[in-house]
């Protein structure tokens, strides 16, 4: 059984302008010990989908249908109180922008032992402190910085703190939301190395979100590409990168410059993503797709198994007319 299975999940937001269909009919799954990367441009629904797992959606969000099965249990059906027990202990989050994700008025140490004391009341304060200090060392921060305040750390260090904090309760699943986006390139590399090390050391299962494909290349076993609230491609990272099956993925990969290759024109993708308030009838990528066939405008393609654990949601694919 998969550790995590998201089945036909939709998340909508109420807004003054109308209902925003941020996530529509998403299917994702993750096995224990796997690292799944979720990629896509801003607004494609990757953060919404993943934050729906521990139930951290904003007030105006609601889930009209779908299931999130975690170890067989549907998290969508759980009450708020039940979810409070699941959070951090079983599913933790490394938030985007660690700049403000820490309470400026509390020491870093205090904030880190908080979830331990909350979820494991039998653990003494001293023990919790020890555990936290251990983790700080693991992420490359001196133990005595336990008593420092968040503003006394640089951006990169704060991110390390966030990473360490996410592991204090030894969770089964860690969600990393754009963990390196706010950092400069040198630090990015360091943090990614760190994550690689931790995943191996603690046998973590992780979902990593990024709009930067190159980042996901580094770490992920599997990758899911999202567009306009839907999953358009899913499979083993290596496969997807070398043999992408969805026109959008192809275009995405082409827009990554090759640092060693010849100088070529960067191909962007002309046009804009569709409105999420009034989504189009057919495939969401249809308008910008260079490979469209007449069906694309009227039918929303399902995520179909193309063999070898490689899935794509493309009308052409299911017709058997491959793009590449």
């Amino acid at each position: 059984m998969n550790m995590l299975e998201i089945k036909d999940l939709s998340v909508h937001f109420k807004s003054r302008a109308g209902t925003v269909h941020a996530v529509e009919g998403v299917n994702l799954w993750l096995e224990k010990g796997e690292l799944l990367g979720v990629a896509g441009e801003s607004g494609c629904g990757k953060t919404t989908t993943t934050l729906a797992i521990p139930g951290l959606l904003p007030q105006n969000a609601f889930i009209p249908r779908g299931q999130i099965l975690f170890n067989g249990e549907d998290l969508v059906k759980k009450t708020e109180k039940e979810m409070e027990k699941v959070r951090w202990k079983q599913i933790s989050v490394i938030f985007q922008g660690a700049m403000n994700a820490l309470n400026p008025l509390q020491t870093v140490g205090k904030q880190m032992i908080e979830p331990i004391l909350l979820h494991e009341p039998h653990v003494s304060k001293k023990e919790a402190e020890e555990r936290v200090k251990e983790l700080l060392e693991q992420v490359g921060i001196e133990k005595n910085r336990f008593t420092n305040y968040p503003h006394e750390f640089s951006g990169g260090m704060r991110q390390r703190v966030m990473i360490a904090m996410s592991l204090v309760c030894d969770p089964e699943l860690v969600i990393a939301d754009e963990p390196v986006t706010a950092l400069d390139v040198m630090i990015q590399a360091q943090i990614l190395e760190l994550l690689k090390k931790l995943v191996k050391k603690y046998s973590l299962s992780m979902i990593m979100i990024s709009h930067d494909l190159s980042v996901l290349c580094e770490l992920c076993d599997k990758i899911a590409i999202m567009y306009a609230g839907r999953v358009v491609e899913y499979g083993y990272a290596r496969e997807v990168f070398t043999h992408p099956k969805h026109p959008y993925t192809v275009k995405l990969l082409h827009s990554l410059p090759d640092i060693y290759g010849e100088k070529v024109f960067i191909n962007g993708i002309p046009g804009y993503p569709p409105s999420l308030i009034t989504p189009p009838a057919g495939c969401p990528f249809c308008e910008r797709c260079t490979e469209r066939i007449p069906e694309c405008g009227s039918r929303v393609p399902e995520l179909v198994d193309l063999g070898g654990g490689h899935y794509a949601a493309c009308c052409r694919q299911t017709e058997g007319r491959a793009v590449v």
Partner: protein, 324 residues
């Protein structure tokens, strides 16, 4: 500069401000239109001898700068002159009235903080709900009510028509008391109406500032982190939100003191409550300038000191403030 140095600097500023107020007072009450001698004597036609004696008595025969120094010396030693109406040292008159006003303000402040902040929290947590909107409108109406008018209304409704609470004074005239507790009960009964009239505007003010500050804080990233850790909304509120919200709220302390003193003046006048406010009002009616000077100085001193306290409070509590 370090925190200690900052506090020292602010303390210097406080002393300078107090000095400026004293000087301002001095100048103000000596540049008034009208002849001070005749005002003191309260009659138009007086002999030259009387004029000379009055001058000597009130030190008006000295050159201005001499008067200034004597004035300063007196203030520092707590002598505020002689009241024209009561023919007593001003300081002893004020001492009598001070206790009543302080009691009134103390009780009022406790209520204002509990109710004002309490409702502010409730409204912020349920932002956008009908309860929230009702509270906001109610507090805007409350803020628009002139304090003295609220008092007048209460007298008419509760004192005259319903006859529940006493409408004037501090103790029922001519009452005989068997025990101390009876005195306290009577005192307390007389406090009820003035206190209620006094707290309305300030409660509204505190509600609005608490609500808006808390709404800002609740949308900060670290609140999502708190939720992600599995903290219940209540724990997240008190451990993370409130400490951060208290900082901006404390900075409104000076404004509050100014408002509540103004309110006390009105309330004491309307209810004939024998405190500093009523003293000031009577002094205005009778143009008893020594009392006016002294009361103004005291009220200004308190307000300015409150300003000082809120200034350094921020510095002491916020760990981010290291160098000013």
């Amino acid at each position: 500069m370090s925190k200690l140095k900052y506090i020292g600097k602010k303390l210097m500023q406080l002393i300078l401000t107090l000095y400026a107020i004293i000087t301002f007072n001095f100048i103000l009450f000596r540049i008034m239109p009208g002849d001070p001698i005749r005002l003191l004597a309260r009659s138009g036609a007086i002999s030259a001898e009387s004029i000379a004696r009055i001058k000597e008595l009130f030190g008006l025969d000295q050159p201005m700068w001499m008067q200034y120094f004597i004035y300063l010396k007196n203030i520092v030693t707590g002598q505020f002159g002689i009241s024209m109406t009561y023919r007593q040292p001003v300081s002893s008159i004020i001492a009598e009235r001070m206790a009543n006003t302080v009691t009134l303000l103390a009780v009022a402040t406790v209520l204002i903080i509990i109710i004002g902040i309490g409702t502010g929290i409730v409204a912020a947590m349920r932002r956008g709900s009908r309860l929230d909107k009702t509270f906001v409108v109610a507090s805007m109406v409350g803020w628009s009510l002139p304090t003295f008018w609220t008092g007048l209304l209460m007298i008419v409704v509760f004192g005259v028509f319903l006859k529940i609470f006493p409408i004037s004074g501090i103790l029922t005239p001519g009452m005989q008391y068997a025990t101390y507790s009876q005195v306290i009960m009577d005192y307390a009964k007389h406090l009820v109406m003035p206190t209620i009239a006094l707290i309305i505007v300030d409660m509204a003010q505190f509600f609005l500032i608490t609500r808006s500050t808390l709404v800002d804080v609740l949308t900060e990233d670290y609140m999502l982190t708190a939720k992600g850790k599995g903290l219940s909304p209540r724990k997240a509120l008190w451990r993370h939100a409130m400490p951060n919200a208290m900082l901006p709220i404390i900075t409104t302390l000076a404004l509050y003191v100014s408002l509540v003193i103004g309110g006390a003046i009105q309330v004491e006048t309307v209810f004939s409550f024998p405190g500093m406010g009523k003293l000031m009002y009577d002094a205005v009616l009778k143009r008893d300038y020594p009392i006016l000077e002294a009361s103004f100085f005291l009220m200004a001193a308190v307000t300015v000191t409150a300003n000082f306290i809120s200034d350094i409070f921020y510095t002491i509590i916020d760990p981010r403030v290291k160098d000013i």
